[in-house]
Amino acid sequence: MTTRIATDMIVGSTLADINSAQAALERSQRELSSGKSISQPSDNPVGASQAIMLQSALDGLDSYEKSAHDGSAWLKTAGGALSSLNELTQRARELVVQAANGVNSQGDLNDIADEVEQLTEMAKQDADTQYAGQYIFSGTLAGTAPYAQGANDEYHGNSGAIARSVGPGATIDVTVSVKSLLGEGQAAGDGKLLDTLRTIAKNLREGTPEALKALSGHDLEAIEANLSTLGNLQAEVGAATDQITSALNRVEDLQNTTTTQLSNIQDANFAQVSMEFSSQQAAYNAALRAGASIVQESLLEFLH
């Protein structure tokens, strides 16, 4: 027996078909206009939760990237300060050699001593270099200048380490221990750069043969030792910079793969959705057209 068709059934099923065609169309349209295949978690529950983790990982990588750039700029500033220290130490060495040749009058020696004292102040200024408002050579006491100008050569920083997180599990120490180079002056008698320069100035002002001898002997050796410490520090900065550069490369690689993964999960496939959209549009039109013509037909049209 064929199914008996009641008038309400035709209207009801036509309406249901139109509604479902419209719902499918609406979904594709939302995907196309937002460019996202997931607009709520129920669209793709696993994808939505993966997207949360991936987006967070991506934000984390951005954070690492920022820290790496920051660390790199920090080291660059430190490197600049060390170069400047290197120049002035070289200059001090030249002055010592010049003074030690024994043909200078006491007046000349005093002039040289003046310059050496100036170099001492300059060395402290270099140590007081700031990056983004932070003293980079103060250890973790970034708000305190490591050295004060003037006769006091005491180091005001600490030996705390400053590090930057530059990748998942990757930490790079960006501390440069300027104290190991400059030391705490004559009061400490530690043979570091400030002590050396103060001693040189003192010997120059004395101008006695013993003093001049010490100048060409002990003081020259001390300054050579200081230069070698400086060289080591510069090498450390260079190595840390290289580490940051390679960490940055890794972070960028991770950013690329994570972005691709995230896009695969949450971005709409435009080609596919457009195709679906077209066929849904056709189905919707057909449902409307069929509905319009079927609902009109009735025996009433033909009876008189």
Binding site: T7, D8, S42, L299
Partner: protein, 437 residues
């Protein structure tokens, strides 16, 4: 014995009356073509008892039976009670699935994922703020940023938790409204009881109460969306209705027994509401999971932020930032100005709190998805059953128009038969014996 002279008129009259009644029924069907719950009716025609005519046959002297026309035996209501029972079972499933889908969808919206305002974004921004602070541990601005992103995160947790609570409370309210003294269950039950009484009386008066039965069935259909319903037809024509697996029948004869205690096993919309708003319900589960995320967040951050707890409270509803910007700790006490604490907290990104949250989102998403697909499936079954019922009981205008033509022609033909009789009688009464007058 011969045939009564005026019998032919009576026979033709029965045809006129029967066709007229059939046309009335057709008219009733047509006018109710769009009435919800209406079942089409058919005037069941039946020949009248024949008249026995003695010694009709001249050969053997036996009698015969002469037809005396037609009458309407009954107005039959075309209805399949088996389909009704199936429809109501599935309608309860649909009511349950629709309610589940709606409520869970609301819970899903409360989380507002994926979006730039959702918890995932806030959580990520919180870790990023710690990362920024690690780069400049002395910066007051970076500390303010950490506190403000922490406050936003805590606020969002508070809000989502409050929204979930509201959804739970609203589900409980809906349940009370439907089952309350002025609710649908009470009013539909009373109407069914009244109809039971009217139907019983009609049947006693030997009248077929088709339209009353339609109205009663429609009310039972409505109830079936709310909870599981079973209908037992009693011998006096009343329906005994059990509702939502409650202990006693909701309607028995003219008596209504409501309110009664329902459980989440009641089925339908009410069962779903009880299930969702209950302590074991899905939404309570989401809140517990969200509390877990908040507790993990507070615990892991406070575990590193040792100077003073960064977060106070250990549920999603109560979590709050407990420090001022100047109290934000970036390093261990032994290492003032360092950034190891800030870096350690930033490295909590992607940890237990986030994983817990992502798992919660996956859980809600798949709950909503399966509720929606349940709804779609139930809807398809209910639509199919509804069509089957319509196929049996629904009015087809084409069919009614055909019937109209049929019965109208029948009426015309009966009238023609009557005219013929009249002309015969005219000949007999007015012209017989008048030859030559």
């Amino acid at each position: 014995m011969s045939i009564p002279t005026l019998q032919g008129l009576q026979t033709a009259l029965s045809g006129l009356l029967a066709d007229q009644q059939a046309i009335d029924v057709t008219g009733h069907n047509i006018t109710n073509a769009n009435t919800p719950g209406y079942s089409r009716q058919v005037a069941v025609l039946q020949t009248n008892d024949p008249m026995r005519i003695a010694a009709l046959s001249p050969t053997d002297g036996e009698g015969g039976q002469l037809g005396t026309g037609v009458s309407v035996a009954t107005y039959m209501r075309i209805r399949n009670t088996y389909l009704d029972a199936q429809y109501r079972t599935q309608n309860a499933s649909l009511g349950s699935a629709t309610t589940q889908a709606n409520e869970l969808q609301q819970a899903q919206s409360a989380f507002d994922e994926p979006s730039t305002a959702g918890l995932a974004t806030q959580l990520s921004a919180f870790w990023s703020a710690w990362g920024e602070l690690a780069n400049m541990p002395a910066s007051e601005a970076a500390k303010v940023a950490v506190v403000s992103s922490g406050t936003q995160l805590a606020d969002t947790l508070n809000q989502v938790s409050a929204q979930l609570q509201t959804i739970e409370a609203q589900a409980a309210q809906q349940y009370s409204a439907i089952t309350g003294s002025s609710g649908e269950v009470q009013s539909d039950g009373s109407q069914i009881a009244q109809l039971n009484e009217q139907i019983k009386l009609s049947l006693l008066a030997r009248q077929q109460p088709n339209d009353l039965e339609d109205r009663r069935d429609l009310l039972v259909d409505k109830l079936s969306e709310l909870a599981n319903v079973t209908v037992t037809r009693e011998s006096d024509g009343t329906d005994t209705i059990t509702f939502g697996n409650a202990a006693k029948p909701l309607v028995e004869g003219a008596k209504v027994d409501w309110p009664q205690v329902l459980t989440s096993a009641a089925g339908g919309k009410l069962g779903a509401l009880l299930g969702l708003s209950g302590p074991e319900g899905a939404i309570a589960g989401y809140r517990t999971a969200l509390d877990g995320v908040a507790a993990t967040l507070a615990e892991t951050v406070n575990g590193l932020h040792t100077s003073t707890p960064f977060f106070s409270g250990n549920t999603a509803a109560t979590i709050a930032v407990a420090v001022t910007p100047s109290q934000v700790q970036t390093a261990e006490p032994a290492n003032p100005g360092g950034n190891e604490v800030a870096r350690a907290i930033a490295a909590l990104r992607g940890g237990t709190a986030e994983q817990g949250y992502a798992a919660l989102i996956a859980r809600i998403g798949s709950d909503v998805k399966s509720a929606q697909s349940n709804e779609t499936n139930s809807q398809a079954v209910v639509t199919a059953l509804s069509e089957q019922r319509q196929s049996v009981s629904g009015v087809s205008l084409d069919e009614e128009m055909t019937n109209l033509v049929t019965f109208q022609r029948g009426y015309q033909a009966s009238a023609r038969a009557l005219t013929s009789m009249d002309e015969m009688l005219d000949t007999l009464i007015n012209h017989t014996g008048a030859v030559g007058l």
